[in-house]
């Protein structure tokens, strides 16, 4: 296992790349603010690097016994009108059916 070299800080370019991954259209002042604040927070959490975790398993959940299984059976779910009630844009009971409407996906 390689020792992890911790980044000295977060750059504006990294923040812009992360914003693109997170689907957030940040304005330049937000990019600047988050660059500074993420640097501060990451400098703080850097203390974890001092902790010896060799051989320690990660904990991803604390559900007792893990999530339980249930039979794979069809059960009642939302009616289409209820499911569409909060949609910003939807087609309801058209000849093609009821569905959410979204902007153009392909060019």
């Amino acid at each position: 296992m390689v020792a992890f070299a911790m980044p000295a800080g977060v750059t504006r370019a990294q923040v812009e790349a992360i914003a693109a991954l997170a689907q957030l259209d940040l304005d330049p002042s937000e990019v600047e603010l988050f660059t500074r604040q993420l640097c501060d927070i990451l400098a703080y959490v850097d203390e974890l690097q001092q902790v010896d975790t060799s051989g320690v398993p990660p904990t991803s959940h604390v559900a007792p016994g893990g999530a339980s299984d249930r039979p794979d059976e069809v059960r009642p779910s939302l009616d289409p009108p209820d499911a569409l009630a909060n949609a910003p844009d939807a087609a309801r009971e058209t000849p093609l059916g009821s569905f959410f409407k979204v902007p153009r996906v392909l060019g």
Binding site: L24, Y44, E47, L48, V62, R70
Partner: protein, 497 residues
Amino acid sequence: MTTPAPSATIRDLRESVRSGARSAVEICRETLARVRASDPALHAFHTVTADRALARAADLDRDRDRWRDAPLTGVPVAIKDNLCTRGVRTTAASKMLETFVPPYDATAVARLERAGAVMIGKTNCDEFAMGSSTENSAFGPTRNPWALDRTPGGSSGGSAAAVAARLAPLALGSDTGGSIRQPAALCGIVGLKPTYGRVSRYGLLAFASSLDQIGSLTLTVHDAAIALNVIAGADPADATSAPDPVPDYTAALTGDIRGARIGVPSRLLENGPGGPDGIDREVAGAFRTALDAFASRGATLVDVDLPHARHAVAVYYLVATAEASSNLARYDGVRYGFRAPFDRHDDALGSMYARTRAGGFGPEVKRRIMLGTYVLSAGYYEAYYLKAQQVRTLIARDYERAFERVDAVAMPTSPTPAFPIGERVADPLQMYLADVFTVSANLGGLPAVSVPCGFTAGGLPIGLQLVGRRFDEPTVLRLADAYERDTNWWKREPAHV
């Protein structure tokens, strides 16, 4: 205050309805009058469901026989606005969900109503429960009933302020890193975060799924036990809800704590984040006095070491933000909530997503999505997220080891009393450190209660926290109730009631 204070606790209100001394409608009217009088100054509520509440109370009165023995008949309840309520706007204090009307009820809400409770409204909180002061609400902060220039804590600050101001004897909250216990402490009331899995999370707008848990804010420990009796239990709609039987939690409140062993993590308290000066002097003093009260009732105080607990805030802000970045991906302007205008000539769908999320989320939510996305991204996953999950294991083991020797671990709930509105908003890290004593219970999935343990010289409440073994709510509640019997701090009412 112009309207008379209704009999304050769940227990008293319930009994007055059962005996016929008061009707559900009378209690509901009084409660709504108090909300109208007090809430403009506090802003504990986003939405007050007055008509619906009165209709519901009238139904209960009309059908008295059917509801006579239900545990919460006629009891007004307030619900944190990140819990879905069928037909009632549920915003999570976010512009993203300003107009969202859920088509279903959260299981915990449905259980309260099945027990005869009357929902009077939805309470303010930090946006998507992300914060420790309720200042991150898109609809303005909630004020602390003990000092209107201070925060009530957060993120369940509206729920805490409502109960502290006697606007409802019970409010539901959610607790991901302290969001029930810290505002309970800062508002002088009782906050219970049950064991992970004890209460169904179905219908809770997810923040960090391995940490989130629904719980209660009440005036007394006995009321917390009554509420847990109702909301606890397995739910087919939440695969992480535990099948363990639900005992009668009020039966545990015997007042007898002789022989109980209470762990005190003195090394953490002396040298935690912030160092020896990290805990306010008056908070430390009230905590020590409270420990003496436990000892006087026959409990034994035992020093315990939780060597990794001082890393809990760092672990928490990596794990919680990673999970949040994933959970909040669902807010994309397609199925519900806010949708931003988009550029038809550009990458239309992608630009709609990114503008919707930029316009719908507030700064703290964006900051956490950014941090979570960063720590999960290629190249940083092992150094941050995996490392945090490993230290999470070590923190949970610290508690397991402590519980071999003690029945509960005691700490101050918050290192400081309520802080002024605006003081910490510019410094997120400082705000995060407010959670130093509460986040460990979420990381370990452990039950924890905050109970009032005194006041500062300036009249601000102080809270004491007891953390227990998994599913051992009976022990933490018994200890907290015994302490409450000796002190009754909850009987002091805030100035703004």
